[in-house]
């Protein structure tokens, strides 16, 4: 990873939690434009807390988050989206009582407010091409989709905002292996298309495979980082996260 150019996202010494509970402590990480960066770690390591701090859903108590040269540490979530940073939350968080088409429409909420009709139409075409199943189910209530389809919908909705940086929180959670493969193929496709991605996963093997660079989070701290290929060969990572050795 080139350290010369300023990264698209820089997290510096970030501490965040829930009331008296500190879930992440002094975490620093960087995401270079155009790369896929993965954060792996066990359940409860603080991965979701970290992503929520970035997307503005949960306030950091200490540290800084700089996105695209601008500090976003204390911005409201809806402002952060408008700067080009979208999150696909853990557990998908689709609008379950609304139609698939409405979910996708709402992904472009900001463009609707700015009356950028063309961006919306292009976005729809792109996501329906990427996920033909969503086009087929456009009129269906989103809560009735299968788990995999819901995950695709969540990703499609986030893509409608044309994010420069996409945060994905455990997109493979609770999905059958075949569907997980589809999801990771989607991530590769987005990567190839130039989207920068910060991916959080418990599925360490797949997460390291798609990533350029990776971090290992343990009980709220970064304990290891490096190029994804290198990390995949690390004996500690192999033992703790890949079930080898």
């Amino acid at each position: 990873m080139s350290k010369t150019a300023a990264p698209l996202l820089a997290i510096e010494q970030l501490t965040a939690g829930y009331g008296p509970i500190t879930a992440i402590k002094g975490v620093s990480l960087a995401v270079t434009a155009g790369q896929v960066v993965s954060i792996i770690g066990a359940n409860g390591a603080g991965k979701t807390t970290l992503l929520k701090a970035v997307s503005g859903m949960n306030r950091a108590t200490r540290g800084r988050i700089v996105f695209n040269g601008r500090e976003i540490t204390r911005l409201a979530a809806d402002r952060i989206v408008s700067l080009g940073l979208s999150q696909v939350a853990e557990g998908r968080q689709i609008f379950a009582h609304m139609s698939v088409a409405d979910n996708i429409e709402l992904g472009a909420y900001l463009f609707h407010r700015q009356r950028k009709r063309q961006l919306i139409d292009e976005g729809k075409e792109a996501v329906y091409t990427m996920f033909p199943v969503l086009a087929k189910r456009a009129g269906q209530i989103a809560g009735t989709l299968s788990g995999g389809e819901q995950q695709m919908l969540a990703i499609a909705r986030a893509l409608m905002a044309r994010p420069t940086l996409l945060l994905l929180d455990e997109p493979s959670m609770g999905l059958a292996p075949l569907i997980v493969r589809d999801i990771f193929r989607t991530i590769e496709q987005l990567h190839a298309g130039g989207t920068t991605i910060l991916l959080v996963e418990q599925n360490a093997r797949a997460a390291l495979q798609v990533a350029d660079y990776a971090y290992v989070l343990e009980t709220g701290r970064v304990v290891l980082e490096g190029p994804a290929r290198q990390l995949a060969d690390d004996p500690k990572v192999k033992r703790a996260y890949l079930g080898i050795g």
């Binding site: 997307s55 503005g56 859903m57 409201a76 979530a77 809806d78 989206v81 408008s82 979208s86 999150q87 939350a89 968080q93 689709i94 609008f95 379950a96 009582h97 609304m98 409405d102 429409e105 709402l106 992904g107 909420y109 900001l110 609707h112 407010r113 209530i141 809560g143 009735t144 909705r157 986030a158 409608m160 905002a161």
Partner: protein, 300 residues
């Protein structure tokens, strides 16, 4: 035409019931709009109706503004009052729990009532019916034209809201907030703005109910609480949060009241709503249209 047949009388009660029910339906819809976005029961909802009626009286009767202009100005004024309610009473609450916010709406309703008493005094006010007081004779029925205005405005409000929630991005954004607030923020929806919008729309609908009701039933400073209770009973009866439920609940409640007062005891008119409310809470707390298959939107 001195004596009515029983059938005619039953039909007459039905028309009255539909009219009163339309008012309750509008109050119930107002409840639901705010409830769906915030989970707060706005117990000041009836005050919007009271203010709608009294402000209309001031603008139309006292100041002599033409009907349509006074109507529009009244709705606009009450809409601003609704927005102020959000900004001054709801948003500043430090530890916003559903309960503390509901208590804030109760406090606000007392303030509205007190201010209304200072401004308009305690006497009830009349408002000219929109198209005169000459009743319409329809197959032996005597219908006040204002009844038709009330029912017509309820239908209009319903149609406009259906278009708003299903066809416009702002309406969809409000539904998104009630569906999943966290996800709404993640797509860039300013949820506080949506709450403000919910209060504005609810207040506007309350004003329409008050303006159309006043020529039939007069209006005074003290009417808000009872209207809120009736509207609340209608919302609960139909299933809290459901718009078709609000209309159904309002109409049923109106009919019960009308037939109850006409055929049973007229003195207990106001008690019927409370009896219905208690029965629903005991027997089917989810209401008539509440708690249908999870896949169907319970909010719309």
């Amino acid at each position: 035409m001195e004596s009515f047949t029983l059938t005619q009388q039953l039909l007459q009660f039905m028309v009255t019931g539909l009219t009163i029910g339309s008012i309750y339906a509008m109050v119930a819809i107002g409840f639901n709009i705010i409830y769906n976005v915030t989970e707060v029961l706005n117990l000041a909802q009836g005050e919007f109706v009271m203010l709608g009626g009294l402000i209309m009286v001031s603008l139309h009767v006292a100041l002599g503004l033409p009907l349509v202009a006074a109507f529009a100005a009244t709705v606009a004024t009450v809409t601003v009052v609704g927005m102020l309610l959000d900004r001054l009473a709801i948003r500043p609450v430090r530890q916003p729990t559903v309960m503390s916010l509901i208590i804030a709406t109760v406090a606000a309703s007392m303030i509205f009532k007190g201010l209304a008493m200072l401004i308009w005094g305690k006497n009830p006010y009349d408002l000219p019916a929109f198209s005169g007081r000459e009743p319409i004779l329809l197959g032996g029925l005597v219908i006040q034209s204002q009844y038709l205005w009330v029912i017509g405005f309820m239908v209009l409000v319903t149609v406009l809201l259906a278009l708003f929630f299903n066809r416009t991005i702002l309406g969809k954004a409000m539904r998104a907030c009630s569906d999943n607030g966290a996800a709404a923020r993640l797509v860039g929806i300013n949820t506080q703005q949506m709450v403000l919008l919910a209060f504005a729309v609810s207040a506007a609908i309350g004003a329409v109910a008050g303006i159309t009701l006043t020529p039939i039933a007069l209006m005074d400073y003290d009417r808000g609480a009872m209207l809120a209770i009736k509207g609340f009973a209608a919302a609960i009866l139909g299933g809290l949060g459901s718009f078709p439920g609000a209309i159904l609940g309002g109409i049923i409640l109106g009919l019960i009241e009308s037939y109850g007062a006409g055929l049973l005891l007229s003195g207990y008119k106001d008690a019927y709503a409370l009896i219905v409310l208690l029965l629903v809470l005991f027997l089917r707390p989810s209401g008539i249209l509440g708690g249908m298959a999870a896949a169907r939107s319970k909010r719309v």
